[in-house]
């Protein structure tokens, strides 16, 4: 007995697929921006903060990097209400993704900060730049430029990881796929198409990061 693939049964659900892709794009966009902001703050704290702050940020990074994302998600969505913090599935998903990306990007950006030669900072000081100006123009920009490829890959990993948030019934692409296959029972076809959509999203996201990288960090 051989199985007949029936991809045409997916056509009536095109709208759901499109909506799922769009939700995943939005989820990723919000989490990436907030996550990278958190990572930049974390990296600055680990590099320039006092001892207590460095230890705290270090513990945050290690806890997040050594536990699975899905457990972090369950902890935030199911565990935090025990402490009186009630979150919708969407909020919990964004928070989990931001916390996750924040930890990884802290480590990546810190490596970039370490690669900035001291003389560069001193040159900035001798030009009379303020501390904030030095951080903005002399430190963070070239630091991000150095580690941009690693940072891009991490953001792609977080986007792919977002498929897991369907498990707390946050709506995105995998949630849409689960819904569709519960209607037409074409599990394999539905997940094959969904997988290709994720592949396209990953390739697209990489292009976007490449474009941003060239815009921001091109050598002039």
């Amino acid at each position: 007995m051989s199985y007949q693939f029936q991809f045409q049964e997916l056509l009536p659900y095109t709208d759901q697929f499109v909506r799922g892709v769009w939700l995943t794009v939005q989820l990723t966009a919000v989490s990436t921006v907030l996550g990278l902001a958190l990572g930049t703050a974390g990296a600055a704290a680990r590099r320039y903060g006092n001892r207590l702050l460095r230890t705290l940020v270090g513990a945050y990074v290690e806890i997040v990097r050594n536990t699975p994302f899905i457990v972090q998600l369950f902890f935030i969505f199911f565990g935090l209400p025990n402490l009186g913090v009630r979150l919708t599935a969407g909020e919990a998903a964004v928070i989990a993704m931001v916390v996750n990306l924040g930890a990884y990007s802290t480590e990546i950006i810190r490596a970039g900060l370490q690669a900035i030669p001291k003389g560069q900072v001193e040159a900035g000081q001798s030009l009379g730049m303020s501390g904030v100006q030095i951080f903005r123009y002399v430190i963070i920009r070239p630091a991000l430029g150095k580690i941009w490829p690693a940072l891009s890959s991490q953001c792609v990993i977080v986007m792919l990881g977002s498929s897991v948030v369907s498990q707390i019934s946050a709506e995105e692409l995998t949630f849409a796929a689960n819904f569709i296959q519960s209607r037409n029972f074409r599990s394999f076809e539905v997940y094959a198409v969904t997988t290709l959509l994720y592949l396209a999203l990953a390739l697209g996201l990489r292009q976007v990061f490449g474009l941003i990288g060239r815009q921001l960090f091109a050598r002039r």
Binding site: Y3, N66, T67, P68, F78, N82, L160, T174, Y191, A202
Partner: protein
């Protein structure tokens, strides 16, 4: 309804953690074998082989592990093979691991100076012999730290097997949560156990890396 003490929860989670460890070992061993073949294909002299290996790696690195698990789970049953979560999870995690290991190892092989390969060729070694006796032993040395580091990702990856019904640490956590209604305690313990598995490996990878760089500096 039975009462669960903290020890009951911890004990059940510890029992389930055995399956996390076993699944990680299967995925890592299978992934290492497949990954080695992929690495050889990726650096081979045949363009088609290189292209296929590259496509494989792109596909598995560019799609969610969860989708790969679903496809293994539903795809195998279409092929007429009776699927247990064990088989589907082992297969998907093996393929996923092999793609990442191949990409890590390719970097290590390419880090070996080209002259080494040319020297082997001028000594009359075949490509495979050169790989076996000259290139891979040297690449192995620099490959160990990132490989140990990646094993942490494999352990964390096994958590997704819970979604296709494989009972390991995360699945046991959700089941205990449904029975006890103590999500904060249960998921804290689950996280703690993953941390206990992963953090030593992270530290070990870090120290191996530091040693390697120290050796190179002198």
């Amino acid at each position: 309804m039975p009462e669960f003490t903290l020890w009951d929860i911890a004990r059940n989670l510890l029992l389930a953690a055995r399956w996390t460890v076993l699944l990680s070992l299967i995925a890592f061993a299978g992934g290492a074998v497949t990954g080695l073949l992929l690495t050889l294909a990726r650096v081979s002299k045949y363009p088609l082989l290189r292209l296929l290996a590259r496509g494989y790696i792109e596909l598995f690195q560019g799609t969610p592990l969860l989708m790969q698990l679903f496809l293994a789970f539903f795809g195998l049953s279409l092929a007429g093979i009776e699927v247990s979560p064990w088989v589907a999870a082992s297969l998907a995690l093996t393929l996923w691991t092999s793609a990442f290991l191949a990409e890590i190892w390719r970097g290590c092989v390419e880090a070996i100076p080209k002259g080494q390969g040319e020297a082997s060729a001028s000594l009359g070694l075949s490509w495979l012999e050169a790989m076996r006796y000259v290139i891979l032993p040297q690449a192995l040395r620099i490959a160990i730290p990132p490989t140990v580091g990646f094993s942490v990702q494999v352990i964390k990856g096994t958590a997704l097997a819970s979604i296709i019904g494989f009972i390991e640490l995360t699945k046991a956590g959700t089941m205990l949560n449904n029975a006890t209604f103590q999500p904060f305690t249960v998921f804290s313990l689950v996280a703690l156990m993953y941390f206990a598995l992963c953090y030593p490996l992270s530290l070990y990878a870090h120290s191996l890396e530091a040693k390697l760089h120290a050796a190179r500096r002198t």
